[in-house]
Amino acid sequence: MTDILAEKTVRWIALAFLATALASFVLPDWIVNNLMFGLARGLAVLGLLVLWRTGLMSFGHGLYFGLGAYTVALLESYVGITDLFLRIAAAVTVAAVVGFVLGFILRRYRDIFFAMLSLAFSMVLYGILAKTEALGSTDGFSVSQTTIFGWQPGNKQPLFIAITAFAFVAVILVQIYLRSTLGRLTTGIRDNEIRVEYLGYSVAQAIHIKYVISTALAGAAGGMMAMALGQVDPDSMVYWTVSGELVFITIMAGPGSVAAPFIGAVIFEFLRTYAFELAPYAWQLIVGTTLLGIIFFLPGGIWSLLEKLRGSGGRHNV
């Protein structure tokens, strides 16, 4: 395991996260807030990255994002728990359990069918939430301040640091997984499934595991978003546009590295803020053009751009 920590990528990531956490002491509130949203989304995109490397793209991860978010909210309104660790644990558990169950179905599909089925599932949840008045329907309901072992912080900064820490831990765990044997199967499956089967591994099982990992991450991300936003509602958490945003960030960031999702998510957040201010009627134009641009000119995403600039020598990242 120590060789993981010696890896250059991991060192840089650790540094980046530390810098981010420290920066929260000096950066203005609104930037910290945007960063929080970015980190939360980045975590969900990390999960999609694992799937994307396998050759699968889910158009319905809003399902787990939403499950995580609503779990946090319901935990408070029904059981009164507002503790940070319990909230995240619950969000991850619920999302992972549902992911495990649905994984049995989804693991048999590929490509467009996988995408469409995941979309359909997420829209079913949306429909349920939108018409359940006890859950506030489309208005949703609010989530109060997160407490840490009983201490109620005055502002969102401790939450930000905690999210940064969690994200970092998740990144390390995913990196460890990707270095493991099962993890290395990821790209193998994308390239040629039948050969992987001949090697003796069960592709279906491998995909199932990756799916559960991605859903757990998305659930955690949704929980964090709920805590950062202070409000949950189906349109912000489950609707297909949420899944679409995550897919967009995944493509924009590229599958090159576990750090890419966070960079992509943060860029997306700020792109959105400024694009909206400058050109409220052209927001979709900007997103669409960026998407096309990435697909045509930078298929490896922004990360591949960074790699080129860094002069990628001795790359062992897949």
Binding site: F121, K131, V247, F248, W283, Q284, G288
Partner: protein
């Protein structure tokens, strides 16, 4: 008995609307293996052009029925112009890419065209009710219906027949079927797959535009008009089988009738009945109910 008849008519009307929307989508997928999100753009642009021209004709004092020409004209205009534009500029470069990436590219195109609509047509809605008003109403099954929606049904039938005839009885149709089955073999046989693809895309685009153009007189055409339609179209295409016209037909009728039944008997379920059907079909017959058979390739 009146109720059953009403439900049937409602279901078929809605099915017609779905079919016109999804026919183009399924053709394009069949030939080019592209799930074209920008189909929503054809729909929206068709609707805006149609609404605009119907409005113009009305302002010029022309009689209401000229609106129909505006509708047909808009569909062809949008189909040809947008279809060719998109195919030439974007899709031609993407044929080797992964399916998912192509879908995302079409999504990007859709977003761009949505904002272009805002720039060209503005934020305010357009009304084009003249053709619908012209046809008036009729009593059927104990309630009053608008004749216009019945013509929608007629239009769907015409399109379905034309597709069937085109695919089975013309040489061009046979070429299309061949390409759908196996692109490489078709190329090996000397079929100009490129031309077939372009032609198919334009036809699909025109059908999508026709859907929007024909619907325009019944609604207020405003920004955001097409967003829902894409998801509905996808659902129908998935249910019926991607690439199959009879599949799109059956899928539309199934969803249309089911929805009509739900709205009449259990309105609260309306919101996600279509997605449940889509999920069920995907789980038990992922190729759809009528997909063309595909041999597994190693």
């Amino acid at each position: 008995m009146d109720t059953a008849f009403t439900i049937l008519l409602d279901g078929l009307t809605y099915a017609s609307y779905l079919f016109i929307v999804s026919a183009g989508l399924t053709i394009i997928f069949g030939v080019m293996k592209i799930l074209n999100v920008a189909h929503g753009s054809f729909y929206a642009w068709g609707a805006y052009c149609s609404a605009y021209f119907v409005g113009q004709f009305a302002e010029m004092g022309l009689p209401d029925w000229t609106g129909f020409f505006a509708i047909a004209g808009s569909a062809i205009l949008v189909g040809a112009v947008l279809g060719l534009l998109i195919e030439r500029v974007i899709l031609r470069r993407m044929y080797d890419q992964e399916e998912i990436l192509i879908v995302l590219a079409t999504f990007g195109i859709f977003l761009i065209l949505e904002d272009v609509i805002l720039l060209v047509f503005g934020v305010n809605p357009y009304f084009a009710y003249q053709p619908m008003a012209y046809l008036g109403s009729i009593e059927l099954g104990g309630i009053t219906r608008d004749v216009y929606s019945l013509t929608l049904f007629a239009l769907a039938v015409v399109i379905a027949v034309m597709c069937w005839w085109g695919l089975n009885k013309t040489r061009w149709g046979l070429l299309l079927v061949a390409v759908i089955h196996d692109k490489e073999a078709s190329m090996a046989m000397g079929i100009n797959v490129q031309a077939v693809s372009v032609a198919t895309f334009v036809i699909g685009a025109t059908l999508g535009a026709l859907g929007g153009a024909y619907i325009a007189p019944t609604v207020s055409v405003a920004p955001g008009f097409a967003v829902d339609v894409i998801v509905l179209g996808f659902a129908v295409v998935v249910i019926g089988g991607m690439g199959s016209i009879p599949g799109a037909l059956i899928g539309s009728v199934l969803v249309g009738l089911l929805r009509a039944l739900t709205v009449h008997k259990m309105p609260e379920l309306e919101l996600f009945v279509i997605f449940i059907v889509m999920s069920v079909v995907l789980m038990f017959r992922p190729e759809g109910l009528f997909a063309p058979a595909k041999a597994r390739k190693i």
